[in-house]
């Protein structure tokens, strides 16, 4: 095997990000059934348990049937949770236990490529997971099509947003059990207080501005408005908020994770 005479050149940025994304996709699709079924099961369980059960006692919420109210929020919460798991536990295992990143950075990719690629993957999972929820909700007649499909790009964006926040959390975590604080202390409350299960107007007046700081609030408002074709200028602010949080958290996360990989 003679040494190549070809002049080697590093892959382009797009090719590098795609190869990272491809790695995650291969891992995910390796167990297609165990990974691919839950995103459909969860919304079904949710609909049966909360939407149909609890919803019977709730006449209407914010001018919508409770089923529709829920259905227009759940795609994006699903994206939030999948991206958060991906960029906390899974990232930590790759970082600390498997040392997979140490192996990957020997190839022509930078640490920044590694995590931007990972965020694109978190976004893709958000896209897929929110798509699964949209499908289930549409089957139950809770979400209009095709407008409901707009939840999917919002799912992608929310996937990168929560992926970036989660990476930033991961950059501080030294013990895998500490993620419990993030999940029960931040994500779970956000799940309930972001206009997911009840409108923000029902919150005490003093708490309302607080809800506006939560990224999920903006993602839910975007999803609900787009799926119901209720356009308003506020949505631009929601979009901007998510993009800014993603960029800021992503930038800080990469800086901090880089210091853990490049020593």
């Amino acid at each position: 095997m003679p040494v190549s005479e070809l002049q080697p050149h590093p892959p382009s940025l797009g090719a590098r990000l795609y190869s990272i994304w491809y790695r995650h996709m291969r891992v995910y699709t390796r167990n297609l059934i165990s990974n691919g079924l839950p995103p459909f099961m969860e919304p079904v369980i949710f609909l049966l348990g909360i939407g149909l059960g609890l919803g019977r006692y709730i006449a209407a919420m914010d001018g919508l049937s409770y089923l529709v109210f829920l259905a227009t929020a759940l795609p994006v919460t699903s994206a939030m949770f999948t991206a958060s798991y991906e960029c906390t536990f899974a990232t930590f295992v790759r970082l600390e236990f498997q040392k997979a990143y140490d192996g990957m950075v020997a190839a022509p990719v930078t640490v920044a490529d590694l995590f931007v690629g990972e965020l694109l993957w978190a976004g893709s999972k958000g896209f897929f997971f929110s798509g699964c929820v949209v499908l289930v909700m549409a089957l139950f007649g809770a979400l209009p099509l095709p407008a409901g499909l707009l939840a999917m790009p919002i799912g992608f964006l929310a996937g990168t947003t929560f992926g970036a926040i989660s990476l930033l959390v991961t950059s501080y975590v030294r013990n895998i059990n500490h993620f419990n604080f993030y999940f029960t202390g931040f994500l779970s409350p956000m799940f309930f207080f972001s206009g997911t299960f009840f409108p923000l107007d029902s919150l005490p007046r003093g708490l309302r501005p607080l809800a506006e700081i939560l990224p999920l609030t903006h993602a839910v408002r975007l999803t609900r408005s787009l799926a119901l074709s209720r356009f308003s200028p506020v949505l631009i602010a929601d979009l901007a908020f998510l993009v800014i949080v993603t960029l800021l958290a992503g930038y800080l996360a990469i800086r901090r994770l880089r210091a853990r990989i490049v020593v």
């Binding site: 095997m1 003679p2 040494v3 190549s4 070809l6 080697p8 050149h9 590093p10 892959p11 382009s12 090719a15 590098r16 795609y18 190869s19 990272i20 491809y22 790695r23 291969r26 891992v27 390796r30 498997q98 040392k99 997979a100 140490d102 192996g103 990957m104 950075v105 020997a106 190839a107 022509p108 990719v109 930078t110 990989i261 490049v262 020593v263």
Partner: protein, 310 residues
């Protein structure tokens, strides 16, 4: 050396209060094998990491690292696309099988699919892993994992192969197989940088070695020449410390340099017959007269006692 593949010029690297690399300079010529030797914690792995920017050197004092003419801190990708790395730990992707591990890396190197398929088949064959293509990483033995990491490092037809303790913990058969493969690669023009704790490995493979102690270079040269020039040619090893002093008393002064540890005595000398005469007087079974090796040079250069970093 204008065409050196790797140039280190007065490179420093500190971790908090520890100087891992303390003013190291060396050059590696193309198509040669260069060995970094030293105790655990001497700075070998750090030097390797500085080459592909897995670590960054100190800003002050200013030092220079050049690999294929590129500074890793400016053009890491240019260096990485010409190099293959076998790190100390087998950091294979346990979430993927053997073939998928390699295909993901081929993608990382930007290899077209058809070339990747051919190259993967060729290398699995070369490293005798063909039957394991669909195996899970956890099913592989230590030797197979090591060979797979080497396959991974060779995917992109590198011009430089960086090996951090390639055969540590492997059985002699696997070790000799890997040595043969590395010789073959070098003959075909590959430049190799390796660290090892096996002096035999360095002696077998390296054209040049650098012995490092606490981040500083202590000895450099061709291993055969180092053995010829830096140590007495013969050594009588005695593992019975009670009879050794009496036996050595009959040696003429200046005939041997004696090194003693708790449970062994070694007499180094160039007069084989004189050492032979001592050996003949000892009861058989716990002494051994042999030519000196690179390990003797290494121990002489770095000392026999343990230091705090080990």
């Amino acid at each position: 050396m204008a065409d050196a593949v790797i140039i280190f010029d007065n490179v420093h690297k500190s971790y908090r209060n520890v100087k891992a690399v303390d003013g190291i300079s060396f050059e590696v010529a193309p198509s040669t094998c260069f060995g970094l030797l030293g105790r655990n914690g001497a700075g070998k792995s750090t030097i390797m990491r500085l080459i592909y920017r897995k670590a960054e050197r100190d800003r002050t004092p200013p030092g220079k690292v050049s690999v294929f003419g590129f500074d890793p801190e400016r053009d890491e990708l240019e260096i990485k696309c010409r190099s293959g790395v076998v790190p100390q730990e087998d950091n294979l992707d346990e979430e993927l099988d053997v073939s998928q591990n390699l295909h993901v890396f081929a993608k990382l190197y930007g290899m077209p699919a058809r070339r990747a398929d051919a190259r993967i088949a060729e290398l699995l064959d070369f490293m005798e892993l063909k039957e394991k293509a669909r195996a899970n990483i956890r099913e592989l033995s230590g030797g197979m994992k090591r060979r797979l990491v080497i396959v991974r490092a060779l995917l992109n037809e590198p011009r430089l192969l960086i090996l951090d303790e390639p055969t540590t913990g492997l059985d002699p058969q696997v070790r000799h197989t890997i040595w043969d493969k590395l010789r073959q690669l070098k003959r075909n023009g590959l430049t190799i940088l390796l660290t090892t704790h096996y002096m035999e490995e360095a002696f077998q493979l390296c054209d040049d070695v650098l012995i490092i102690e606490s981040g500083k270079a202590v000895l450099r040269g061709n291993p055969k020449l180092l053995v010829a020039q830096h140590i007495e040619p013969y050594v009588l090893e005695m593992t019975d410390v009670n009879v050794a002093p009496a036996a050595l008393a009959s040696l003429a002064p200046g005939t041997a340099r004696v090194e003693q540890s708790d449970e062994s005595v070694r007499a180094y000398g160039k007069d084989y017959e004189a050492l032979r005469a001592i050996a003949d007087k000892l009861p058989p079974g716990n002494h051994h007269l042999r030519p000196s090796t690179l390990e003797d040079v290494f121990l002489k250069a770095t000392g026999r006692t343990l230091d705090a970093r080990q």
